[in-house]
Subunit: 340 residues, 2 copies
Amino acid sequence: MPPPLRLQDLPPKSARFCLRVERFIRKDLGLDLKGKRLLVALSGGADSTALLYCLRYLAPRMCISLLAAHVDHGLRPESGQDAAYCRELCAAQNVPLYEAKLDVSGLAKQSGMGIEEAGRHARYDFFQKTLVGQNADLLLTAHHLNDLAEDALMRLIRGTGWPELAGMPAYDPQRNLLRPLLLTPGTNLREFLTNIGASWREDPSNTDPAFLRNRVRLDILPLFLRENPNFLESMARLWRIAELDRQFFLEFKTKLDISYDAGGKQFSVPLDALLALHPAIRLRIYKTLLDALASGQVLWKNLLRLDEAVLARRSGSRVQFPGGKQACLERSVLRFCAAS
Amino acid sequence: MPPPLRLQDLPPKSARFCLRVERFIRKDLGLDLKGKRLLVALSGGADSTALLYCLRYLAPRMCISLLAAHVDHGLRPESGQDAAYCRELCAAQNVPLYEAKLDVSGLAKQSGMGIEEAGRHARYDFFQKTLVGQNADLLLTAHHLNDLAEDALMRLIRGTGWPELAGMPAYDPQRNLLRPLLLTPGTNLREFLTNIGASWREDPSNTDPAFLRNRVRLDILPLFLRENPNFLESMARLWRIAELDRQFFLEFKTKLDISYDAGGKQFSVPLDALLALHPAIRLRIYKTLLDALASGQVLWKNLLRLDEAVLARRSGSRVQFPGGKQACLERSVLRFCAAS
């Protein structure tokens, strides 16, 4: 028997699962998606299949319309079957599907990137093109709580500061990206699919220990779960605390009189106003402005160096950041600029 | 040849080591210890021996006087030799030593605590008594950066929020406790001792996997160090960020009109003033007040529940916290009280 088509036909537990996702979007993220066109990134694996079903059940209540996009990376012999599965699923659910078949090995060789990185780049390129081409509002991915916990552990390893330490955001307006399942444990997604009688493609999960993510998933996260069986729940709570702090820190930025140049390639902030703030806030303002300027990871080490220069009012000093970004201290302003 | 007696007679590298510790106390922690009597917790192991030497070299510059306290737990056959070593060291360095010999096994049986916990309790009891009895100002312990990183990982496991997540404080005024080596890597302490020609007692480090701390030290921390050889440095940076945030959050508390009852067993905070603050700040105010009230770990889960009640102004509702503490919502104030 195929899965039910409507929310009201679901077993109560599965319906509640969907309603919790709706509440996360509406209450926790404060987003009203009414009238929006949402593009679901669909691999055919359990996570994205669960996301598609869940949104399909919520669509009438939330007044959203759905599209899906699938990328065949051409890396595994069964990738054609994954694509076929997505086609069937979308046809049955009446969701338009946009597909791309990529030669990721070729792209990796061409660009000099690793296979995983080249695949991610090409995939998100296609998603962004489809977003624009199909006039959709947001890209939705199926990242869940296990992904969040792994991401936070990787950030801890890499030396990320707070509040970024707690893991990826659920909503990234710069990339038009939404992750509605971010606080849902991965096991709940499979349970949901089983309960509604849906199938999915078993994704031979990547176990290559050459990737940090796989080492975190296979070696590190299990140790934390062994010590604290509620570790995933703890990480969800830590993420909520980080969200509160992020919003709070942002409020101080909006009160500053920041000048933006036409192309968004340069910001300047009055020094006196900066110096009136607590260093905890100044550091977050530097970080937010540098992140908005261009890609390139902003290291806290450099932010702390910049704040020393600001405190000492060392006019003429510059601090470089990855991605060709820099902060230049002038007489009365701090100027952030991207390499042109 | 015994270690030099004065800072100016040390090899330059070792002198710089001591001066960095002084700078950490003075600049990072903002403490002026001039004229203070400092009690060093001395086990005779490398860490506390390094702390004693380092402070001994700094004493004339910093105008501090030193005392030491050693506890013989009577748990290992060589514990008498550790005590003898401490006596010799303190005699040679001209530091008065206060000693206690405890029957930790007996205390553990009596109290029903584990050996490690009973030992820690008895040890700190003796340190606090010596602090008072000898009219000393602060207890100094030799916790270093490896201890800090282990502590932060344990806090992550247990689901601690921010800024406590980054690890133990370097200065705890409530306990008159100072940890001057907290940002110094453990290996630097042994290197310092070797460079000045000092010996120490090899402490058979506890490897019993029954304790979380040992599992973190032996299984978890090495994985993080393998992924990022500068992980300790990253954790020191994270701790600095947490310190900034802690100070910043505290500033909001000082602006509130909090009423304290005579015995410090009760605080009340005007609701309107609380509701005017950002939730990120409200949560930290609850936490600080509950921590000041009595011992008992404050869980973020409960803080979040309390904030829901405050936001909804649910007069009459109570939230319980470990250690018999509770928060009661009244019409115009939020009252925190400890069990009497």
